[in-house]
Assembly symmetry: C2
Homo-oligomer: 212 residues x 2
DNA sequence: GTCTATATCTAGATAGAC
DNA sequence: GTCTATCTAGATATAGAC
Protein backbone atom coordinates (compact mmCIF):
# COMPACT_ATOMS: atom_id res chain seq x y z
CA UNK A 1 0.00 0.00 0.00
CA UNK A 2 1.25 3.50 -0.82
CA UNK A 3 2.55 5.38 2.23
CA UNK A 4 0.19 8.26 3.04
CA UNK A 5 -0.13 10.18 6.22
CA UNK A 6 0.25 7.57 8.95
CA UNK A 7 -2.83 8.51 10.92
CA UNK A 8 -5.01 8.07 7.85
CA UNK A 9 -3.25 4.83 7.04
CA UNK A 10 -4.08 3.48 10.49
CA UNK A 11 -7.73 4.48 10.11
CA UNK A 12 -8.04 2.95 6.67
CA UNK A 13 -6.35 -0.27 7.78
CA UNK A 14 -8.46 -0.51 10.92
CA UNK A 15 -11.66 0.03 8.99
CA UNK A 16 -10.79 -2.70 6.51
CA UNK A 17 -9.80 -5.17 9.22
CA UNK A 18 -12.76 -4.33 11.48
CA UNK A 19 -15.18 -4.84 8.62
CA UNK A 20 -13.57 -8.09 7.56
CA UNK A 21 -13.00 -9.81 10.92
CA UNK A 22 -15.15 -7.86 13.36
CA UNK A 23 -13.75 -5.25 15.74
CA UNK A 24 -13.32 -7.54 18.78
CA UNK A 25 -11.24 -9.95 16.71
CA UNK A 26 -8.75 -7.33 15.53
CA UNK A 27 -5.94 -6.35 17.91
CA UNK A 28 -3.84 -3.21 17.76
CA UNK A 29 -0.83 -5.38 16.92
CA UNK A 30 -2.83 -6.86 14.08
CA UNK A 31 -3.57 -3.38 12.76
CA UNK A 32 0.06 -2.28 13.09
CA UNK A 33 1.35 -5.34 11.26
CA UNK A 34 -1.15 -4.93 8.43
CA UNK A 35 -0.33 -1.22 8.15
CA UNK A 36 3.37 -2.06 8.17
CA UNK A 37 4.17 0.14 11.16
CA UNK A 38 5.22 -0.64 14.73
CA UNK A 39 2.75 -1.03 17.62
CA UNK A 40 4.43 1.89 19.34
CA UNK A 41 3.84 4.08 16.33
CA UNK A 42 0.16 3.27 16.36
CA UNK A 43 -0.06 4.46 19.96
CA UNK A 44 1.75 7.64 19.04
CA UNK A 45 -1.15 8.50 16.74
CA UNK A 46 -4.03 7.14 18.84
CA UNK A 47 -4.52 7.09 22.56
CA UNK A 48 -6.30 3.73 22.49
CA UNK A 49 -8.08 1.24 20.30
CA UNK A 50 -11.40 2.75 21.35
CA UNK A 51 -10.10 6.06 20.05
CA UNK A 52 -9.71 4.54 16.61
CA UNK A 53 -13.25 3.15 16.68
CA UNK A 54 -14.62 6.50 17.83
CA UNK A 55 -12.76 8.41 15.13
CA UNK A 56 -14.15 5.98 12.54
CA UNK A 57 -17.63 6.59 13.89
CA UNK A 58 -17.12 10.32 13.44
CA UNK A 59 -16.10 9.72 9.84
CA UNK A 60 -19.20 7.62 9.44
CA UNK A 61 -21.39 10.46 10.71
CA UNK A 62 -19.73 12.89 8.33
CA UNK A 63 -20.27 10.55 5.38
CA UNK A 64 -23.91 10.14 6.34
CA UNK A 65 -24.62 13.81 6.90
CA UNK A 66 -25.42 14.85 3.30
CA UNK A 67 -27.57 11.75 2.84
CA UNK A 68 -29.70 12.58 5.86
CA UNK A 69 -29.98 16.28 5.09
CA UNK A 70 -33.22 17.37 3.42
CA UNK A 71 -33.48 20.75 1.78
CA UNK A 72 -36.33 22.88 3.13
CA UNK A 73 -38.04 23.20 -0.19
CA UNK A 74 -37.26 19.67 -1.22
CA UNK A 75 -40.24 17.57 -2.22
CA UNK A 76 -39.51 13.93 -1.52
CA UNK A 77 -41.00 11.49 -4.01
CA UNK A 78 -40.46 7.77 -4.55
CA UNK A 79 -37.47 8.42 -6.81
CA UNK A 80 -35.86 10.52 -4.09
CA UNK A 81 -36.69 7.86 -1.53
CA UNK A 82 -34.90 4.96 -3.18
CA UNK A 83 -31.94 7.16 -4.00
CA UNK A 84 -31.57 8.20 -0.36
CA UNK A 85 -31.93 4.66 0.88
CA UNK A 86 -29.36 3.37 -1.55
CA UNK A 87 -26.83 6.03 -0.59
CA UNK A 88 -27.49 5.48 3.08
CA UNK A 89 -27.05 1.72 2.87
CA UNK A 90 -23.92 2.05 0.80
CA UNK A 91 -22.41 4.26 3.50
CA UNK A 92 -23.52 1.93 6.27
CA UNK A 93 -21.91 -0.94 4.40
CA UNK A 94 -18.58 0.84 4.26
CA UNK A 95 -18.67 1.13 8.07
CA UNK A 96 -20.47 -2.09 8.75
CA UNK A 97 -18.26 -3.15 11.68
CA UNK A 98 -20.10 -0.51 13.72
CA UNK A 99 -23.40 -2.33 13.33
CA UNK A 100 -21.95 -5.76 13.83
CA UNK A 101 -20.92 -4.98 17.42
CA UNK A 102 -23.06 -1.96 18.18
CA UNK A 103 -24.10 -3.09 21.64
CA UNK A 104 -20.60 -3.66 22.94
CA UNK A 105 -19.18 -0.56 21.30
CA UNK A 106 -21.93 1.53 22.89
CA UNK A 107 -21.38 -0.08 26.26
CA UNK A 108 -17.61 0.44 26.10
CA UNK A 109 -17.38 3.91 24.56
CA UNK A 110 -19.79 6.46 26.07
CA UNK A 111 -19.10 9.06 23.38
CA UNK A 112 -19.93 6.56 20.68
CA UNK A 113 -23.10 5.64 22.50
CA UNK A 114 -24.22 9.24 22.65
CA UNK A 115 -23.33 9.81 19.02
CA UNK A 116 -25.26 6.74 17.95
CA UNK A 117 -28.37 7.80 19.84
CA UNK A 118 -28.10 11.18 18.19
CA UNK A 119 -27.85 9.49 14.81
CA UNK A 120 -30.92 7.38 15.47
CA UNK A 121 -32.90 10.47 16.41
CA UNK A 122 -31.72 12.23 13.28
CA UNK A 123 -32.59 9.25 11.09
CA UNK A 124 -36.04 9.21 12.61
CA UNK A 125 -36.57 12.90 11.85
CA UNK A 126 -35.38 12.45 8.27
CA UNK A 127 -37.65 9.46 7.73
CA UNK A 128 -40.53 11.32 9.33
CA UNK A 129 -40.07 14.18 6.90
CA UNK A 130 -39.72 11.83 3.93
CA UNK A 131 -42.92 10.03 4.86
CA UNK A 132 -44.64 13.33 5.56
CA UNK A 133 -43.61 14.48 2.11
CA UNK A 134 -45.10 11.40 0.51
CA UNK A 135 -48.35 11.91 2.41
CA UNK A 136 -48.62 15.58 1.49
CA UNK A 137 -48.12 14.64 -2.15
CA UNK A 138 -50.96 12.18 -1.91
CA UNK A 139 -48.54 9.37 -2.70
CA UNK A 140 -48.93 7.75 0.69
CA UNK A 141 -51.90 7.26 2.93
CA UNK A 142 -51.29 6.37 6.55
CA UNK A 143 -52.69 7.20 10.00
CA UNK A 144 -50.65 8.76 12.76
CA UNK A 145 -50.45 5.59 14.89
CA UNK A 146 -49.53 3.41 11.93
CA UNK A 147 -46.90 5.92 10.89
CA UNK A 148 -45.21 5.71 14.30
CA UNK A 149 -45.14 1.91 14.24
CA UNK A 150 -43.94 1.95 10.65
CA UNK A 151 -41.13 4.33 11.62
CA UNK A 152 -40.14 2.03 14.49
CA UNK A 153 -39.89 -0.91 12.15
CA UNK A 154 -38.08 1.06 9.45
CA UNK A 155 -35.41 2.13 11.93
CA UNK A 156 -35.07 -1.39 13.27
CA UNK A 157 -34.69 -2.95 9.84
CA UNK A 158 -32.29 -0.26 8.65
CA UNK A 159 -30.13 -0.74 11.74
CA UNK A 160 -30.20 -4.53 11.67
CA UNK A 161 -29.93 -5.78 8.12
CA UNK A 162 -26.13 -5.77 8.35
CA UNK A 163 -25.66 -7.99 11.42
CA UNK A 164 -28.48 -10.22 10.23
CA UNK A 165 -26.76 -10.69 6.89
CA UNK A 166 -23.48 -11.43 8.70
CA UNK A 167 -25.15 -14.02 10.90
CA UNK A 168 -26.71 -15.62 7.83
CA UNK A 169 -23.26 -15.63 6.22
CA UNK A 170 -24.43 -13.62 3.23
CA UNK A 171 -21.44 -13.17 0.88
CA UNK A 172 -22.95 -10.06 -0.71
CA UNK A 173 -21.70 -7.86 2.13
CA UNK A 174 -18.16 -7.87 0.77
CA UNK A 175 -18.88 -6.87 -2.81
CA UNK A 176 -21.97 -4.75 -2.17
CA UNK A 177 -24.28 -7.06 -4.07
CA UNK A 178 -26.47 -7.21 -0.99
CA UNK A 179 -27.41 -3.52 -1.26
CA UNK A 180 -30.27 -3.85 -3.74
CA UNK A 181 -31.85 -6.57 -1.63
CA UNK A 182 -31.54 -4.46 1.50
CA UNK A 183 -33.20 -1.51 -0.20
CA UNK A 184 -35.95 -3.75 -1.57
CA UNK A 185 -36.53 -5.03 1.95
CA UNK A 186 -37.14 -1.54 3.31
CA UNK A 187 -39.23 -0.36 0.38
CA UNK A 188 -41.47 -3.36 0.89
CA UNK A 189 -42.32 -2.09 4.36
CA UNK A 190 -43.73 1.09 2.80
CA UNK A 191 -45.55 -0.59 -0.05
CA UNK A 192 -48.88 -1.29 1.69
CA UNK A 193 -49.34 2.41 2.40
CA UNK A 194 -48.61 3.71 -1.11
CA UNK A 195 -51.27 4.73 -3.61
CA UNK A 196 -51.20 4.12 -7.33
CA UNK A 197 -49.33 4.65 -9.56
CA UNK A 198 -46.42 4.89 -7.09
CA UNK A 199 -47.21 1.51 -5.54
CA UNK A 200 -46.68 -0.13 -8.91
CA UNK A 201 -43.49 1.83 -9.47
CA UNK A 202 -42.11 0.63 -6.14
CA UNK A 203 -43.21 -2.92 -6.86
CA UNK A 204 -41.32 -2.76 -10.13
CA UNK A 205 -38.28 -1.35 -8.36
CA UNK A 206 -38.38 -4.11 -5.77
CA UNK A 207 -38.60 -6.80 -8.43
CA UNK A 208 -35.76 -5.20 -10.33
CA UNK A 209 -33.68 -4.91 -7.16
CA UNK A 210 -34.24 -8.46 -6.06
CA UNK A 211 -33.12 -9.81 -9.40
CA UNK A 212 -30.03 -7.61 -9.54
CA UNK B 1 -28.34 -19.33 46.01
CA UNK B 2 -29.31 -22.88 46.99
CA UNK B 3 -26.65 -25.42 46.01
CA UNK B 4 -27.98 -27.63 43.25
CA UNK B 5 -26.09 -29.84 40.90
CA UNK B 6 -22.93 -27.90 40.09
CA UNK B 7 -23.19 -28.22 36.35
CA UNK B 8 -26.65 -26.72 36.40
CA UNK B 9 -25.47 -24.01 38.75
CA UNK B 10 -22.73 -23.04 36.31
CA UNK B 11 -25.21 -22.90 33.45
CA UNK B 12 -27.72 -20.82 35.37
CA UNK B 13 -25.03 -18.42 36.58
CA UNK B 14 -23.50 -18.10 33.12
CA UNK B 15 -26.88 -17.40 31.55
CA UNK B 16 -27.65 -14.67 34.07
CA UNK B 17 -24.24 -13.02 33.67
CA UNK B 18 -24.19 -13.35 29.88
CA UNK B 19 -27.60 -11.72 29.65
CA UNK B 20 -26.68 -8.94 32.02
CA UNK B 21 -23.21 -8.00 30.81
CA UNK B 22 -22.90 -9.61 27.38
CA UNK B 23 -21.02 -12.85 26.78
CA UNK B 24 -17.66 -11.28 25.73
CA UNK B 25 -17.59 -9.26 28.95
CA UNK B 26 -17.99 -12.27 31.23
CA UNK B 27 -14.91 -14.36 32.00
CA UNK B 28 -14.84 -17.90 33.34
CA UNK B 29 -13.35 -16.54 36.56
CA UNK B 30 -16.25 -14.15 36.79
CA UNK B 31 -18.69 -17.03 36.43
CA UNK B 32 -16.87 -19.14 39.01
CA UNK B 33 -16.80 -16.32 41.53
CA UNK B 34 -20.48 -15.56 41.07
CA UNK B 35 -21.36 -19.27 41.36
CA UNK B 36 -19.19 -19.54 44.45
CA UNK B 37 -17.01 -22.29 43.08
CA UNK B 38 -13.36 -22.40 42.01
CA UNK B 39 -12.21 -21.78 38.43
CA UNK B 40 -10.77 -25.30 38.37
CA UNK B 41 -14.11 -26.76 39.29
CA UNK B 42 -15.77 -24.94 36.42
CA UNK B 43 -13.32 -26.58 34.01
CA UNK B 44 -14.02 -29.95 35.53
CA UNK B 45 -17.64 -29.59 34.37
CA UNK B 46 -17.05 -27.82 31.06
CA UNK B 47 -14.28 -28.20 28.56
CA UNK B 48 -14.30 -24.51 27.64
CA UNK B 49 -16.28 -21.31 27.81
CA UNK B 50 -17.58 -21.97 24.30
CA UNK B 51 -18.89 -25.27 25.62
CA UNK B 52 -21.04 -23.40 28.11
CA UNK B 53 -22.41 -21.10 25.41
CA UNK B 54 -23.15 -24.06 23.15
CA UNK B 55 -24.91 -25.97 25.92
CA UNK B 56 -27.01 -22.87 26.65
CA UNK B 57 -27.90 -22.67 22.96
CA UNK B 58 -29.07 -26.28 23.08
CA UNK B 59 -31.28 -25.45 26.07
CA UNK B 60 -32.60 -22.50 24.09
CA UNK B 61 -33.52 -24.77 21.18
CA UNK B 62 -35.26 -27.18 23.53
CA UNK B 63 -37.25 -24.36 25.11
CA UNK B 64 -38.26 -23.08 21.69
CA UNK B 65 -39.21 -26.45 20.24
CA UNK B 66 -42.82 -26.65 21.52
CA UNK B 67 -43.44 -23.03 20.51
CA UNK B 68 -42.35 -23.68 16.93
CA UNK B 69 -44.18 -26.99 16.62
CA UNK B 70 -47.50 -26.84 14.80
CA UNK B 71 -49.92 -29.76 15.04
CA UNK B 72 -50.94 -31.15 11.65
CA UNK B 73 -54.60 -30.45 12.13
CA UNK B 74 -53.99 -27.17 13.88
CA UNK B 75 -55.77 -24.18 12.39
CA UNK B 76 -53.78 -21.05 13.08
CA UNK B 77 -55.86 -17.95 13.68
CA UNK B 78 -54.94 -14.49 14.97
CA UNK B 79 -55.40 -15.61 18.57
CA UNK B 80 -52.95 -18.47 18.00
CA UNK B 81 -50.57 -16.11 16.25
CA UNK B 82 -50.16 -13.62 19.07
CA UNK B 83 -49.88 -16.42 21.60
CA UNK B 84 -47.07 -18.05 19.65
CA UNK B 85 -45.24 -14.79 19.17
CA UNK B 86 -45.49 -13.94 22.83
CA UNK B 87 -44.17 -17.32 23.93
CA UNK B 88 -41.40 -17.17 21.35
CA UNK B 89 -40.25 -13.70 22.40
CA UNK B 90 -40.40 -14.58 26.06
CA UNK B 91 -38.08 -17.52 25.40
CA UNK B 92 -35.75 -15.42 23.26
CA UNK B 93 -35.61 -12.87 26.05
CA UNK B 94 -34.51 -15.49 28.56
CA UNK B 95 -31.56 -16.31 26.27
CA UNK B 96 -31.04 -12.86 24.90
CA UNK B 97 -27.24 -12.93 25.16
CA UNK B 98 -27.29 -15.23 22.12
CA UNK B 99 -28.80 -12.51 19.95
CA UNK B 100 -26.66 -9.74 21.34
CA UNK B 101 -23.46 -11.36 19.99
CA UNK B 102 -24.81 -13.71 17.40
CA UNK B 103 -22.24 -12.88 14.74
CA UNK B 104 -19.22 -13.53 16.90
CA UNK B 105 -20.70 -16.61 18.53
CA UNK B 106 -21.43 -18.07 15.10
CA UNK B 107 -17.95 -17.22 13.87
CA UNK B 108 -16.30 -18.76 16.92
CA UNK B 109 -18.41 -21.87 17.47
CA UNK B 110 -19.17 -23.82 14.29
CA UNK B 111 -21.71 -26.07 15.98
CA UNK B 112 -23.62 -23.05 17.23
CA UNK B 113 -23.53 -21.56 13.77
CA UNK B 114 -25.01 -24.66 12.24
CA UNK B 115 -27.64 -24.90 14.95
CA UNK B 116 -28.63 -21.27 14.46
CA UNK B 117 -29.01 -21.69 10.72
CA UNK B 118 -31.16 -24.72 11.38
CA UNK B 119 -33.27 -22.67 13.76
CA UNK B 120 -33.74 -19.88 11.22
CA UNK B 121 -34.90 -22.40 8.62
CA UNK B 122 -37.31 -23.91 11.12
CA UNK B 123 -38.68 -20.51 12.10
CA UNK B 124 -39.23 -19.72 8.46
CA UNK B 125 -41.16 -22.95 7.93
CA UNK B 126 -43.30 -22.33 11.00
CA UNK B 127 -44.07 -18.76 9.92
CA UNK B 128 -44.82 -19.96 6.41
CA UNK B 129 -47.34 -22.43 7.74
CA UNK B 130 -48.88 -19.86 10.07
CA UNK B 131 -49.30 -17.38 7.23
CA UNK B 132 -50.56 -20.13 4.97
CA UNK B 133 -53.13 -21.00 7.60
CA UNK B 134 -54.32 -17.41 7.77
CA UNK B 135 -54.63 -17.25 4.00
CA UNK B 136 -56.55 -20.51 3.75
CA UNK B 137 -58.97 -19.22 6.39
CA UNK B 138 -59.55 -16.10 4.35
CA UNK B 139 -58.13 -14.02 7.17
CA UNK B 140 -55.13 -12.89 5.16
CA UNK B 141 -54.74 -11.92 1.54
CA UNK B 142 -51.25 -11.81 0.08
CA UNK B 143 -49.45 -12.70 -3.15
CA UNK B 144 -46.59 -15.19 -3.32
CA UNK B 145 -43.89 -12.56 -3.92
CA UNK B 146 -45.16 -10.30 -1.16
CA UNK B 147 -45.33 -13.27 1.18
CA UNK B 148 -41.66 -14.05 0.63
CA UNK B 149 -40.60 -10.47 1.28
CA UNK B 150 -42.86 -10.30 4.31
CA UNK B 151 -41.29 -13.50 5.64
CA UNK B 152 -37.82 -12.05 5.15
CA UNK B 153 -38.73 -8.97 7.14
CA UNK B 154 -40.52 -10.95 9.84
CA UNK B 155 -37.44 -13.09 10.39
CA UNK B 156 -35.18 -10.07 10.43
CA UNK B 157 -37.31 -8.18 12.95
CA UNK B 158 -37.79 -11.25 15.15
CA UNK B 159 -34.03 -11.87 15.20
CA UNK B 160 -33.05 -8.24 15.74
CA UNK B 161 -35.41 -6.59 18.19
CA UNK B 162 -33.25 -7.72 21.11
CA UNK B 163 -29.90 -6.23 20.05
CA UNK B 164 -31.69 -3.12 18.80
CA UNK B 165 -33.34 -2.66 22.17
CA UNK B 166 -29.98 -3.17 23.89
CA UNK B 167 -28.34 -0.57 21.66
CA UNK B 168 -31.17 1.83 22.42
CA UNK B 169 -30.66 1.12 26.11
CA UNK B 170 -34.25 -0.01 26.60
CA UNK B 171 -34.70 -0.92 30.27
CA UNK B 172 -37.67 -3.19 29.51
CA UNK B 173 -35.37 -6.05 28.56
CA UNK B 174 -34.60 -6.84 32.19
CA UNK B 175 -38.14 -7.02 33.52
CA UNK B 176 -39.85 -8.27 30.36
CA UNK B 177 -41.91 -5.13 29.93
CA UNK B 178 -40.53 -4.85 26.41
CA UNK B 179 -42.28 -8.02 25.27
CA UNK B 180 -45.68 -6.52 24.44
CA UNK B 181 -44.04 -3.81 22.36
CA UNK B 182 -41.95 -6.38 20.49
CA UNK B 183 -45.02 -8.45 19.70
CA UNK B 184 -46.91 -5.34 18.61
CA UNK B 185 -44.03 -4.50 16.29
CA UNK B 186 -44.25 -7.83 14.51
CA UNK B 187 -48.02 -7.90 14.35
CA UNK B 188 -47.93 -4.51 12.69
CA UNK B 189 -45.95 -6.00 9.82
CA UNK B 190 -48.83 -8.38 9.11
CA UNK B 191 -51.60 -5.84 9.54
CA UNK B 192 -51.74 -4.50 5.96
CA UNK B 193 -52.45 -7.98 4.63
CA UNK B 194 -55.25 -8.90 7.04
CA UNK B 195 -58.95 -8.73 6.18
CA UNK B 196 -61.72 -7.61 8.46
CA UNK B 197 -62.70 -8.30 11.16
CA UNK B 198 -59.27 -9.73 12.04
CA UNK B 199 -57.46 -6.53 11.04
CA UNK B 200 -59.45 -4.62 13.65
CA UNK B 201 -58.77 -7.31 16.23
CA UNK B 202 -55.05 -7.05 15.62
CA UNK B 203 -55.20 -3.26 15.68
CA UNK B 204 -56.90 -3.47 19.05
CA UNK B 205 -54.28 -5.94 20.27
CA UNK B 206 -51.47 -3.68 19.12
CA UNK B 207 -52.97 -0.67 20.87
CA UNK B 208 -53.46 -2.72 24.01
CA UNK B 209 -49.90 -4.06 23.83
CA UNK B 210 -48.31 -0.69 23.27
CA UNK B 211 -50.04 0.77 26.30
CA UNK B 212 -49.14 -2.18 28.53
C1' DG C 1 -15.85 -33.21 42.85
C1' DT C 2 -13.57 -29.55 44.49
C1' DC C 3 -9.81 -26.77 45.73
C1' DT C 4 -5.30 -23.92 45.28
C1' DA C 5 -1.76 -22.68 42.56
C1' DT C 6 0.00 -21.80 38.36
C1' DA C 7 1.14 -22.18 33.39
C1' DT C 8 0.42 -19.94 29.04
C1' DC C 9 -0.93 -16.70 26.08
C1' DT C 10 -2.46 -12.49 24.16
C1' DA C 11 -4.24 -8.04 24.48
C1' DG C 12 -3.67 -3.14 25.32
C1' DA C 13 -0.48 0.16 26.39
C1' DT C 14 4.16 2.54 27.67
C1' DA C 15 9.39 3.78 27.87
C1' DG C 16 13.12 5.34 25.89
C1' DA C 17 16.53 5.12 22.06
C1' DC C 18 17.03 6.88 17.48
C1' DG D 1 7.60 10.21 13.96
C1' DT D 2 9.09 5.81 14.32
C1' DC D 3 11.21 1.87 16.24
C1' DT D 4 12.39 -2.01 19.66
C1' DA D 5 11.68 -3.80 23.88
C1' DT D 6 8.89 -4.42 27.58
C1' DC D 7 5.29 -3.91 31.19
C1' DT D 8 0.89 -5.12 33.04
C1' DA D 9 -3.47 -7.10 33.34
C1' DG D 10 -6.60 -10.43 32.55
C1' DA D 11 -8.25 -14.42 30.14
C1' DT D 12 -8.37 -19.47 29.22
C1' DA D 13 -7.02 -23.53 30.74
C1' DT D 14 -4.29 -27.21 33.41
C1' DA D 15 -1.77 -29.79 37.37
C1' DG D 16 -1.95 -31.96 41.31
C1' DA D 17 -3.30 -32.11 46.27
C1' DC D 18 -7.31 -33.16 49.06
Amino acid sequence: MVRRDTRELILATSLALFNRHGEPNVSTNHIATEADISPGNLYYHFHSKDDIALELFKRYLISLQPVLELGDNERPDTEELWLRLHLMFETMGRFRFLYRNLDDLCARIPNLRRAFHGLLAKQRRTLERLLGGLVSHGIMEIGADDAQLLLDNLLLVMSSWIPFAEAEGDPGLEDGSILPRAVARVLHLLLPYLRQPEASQITALITQYREA
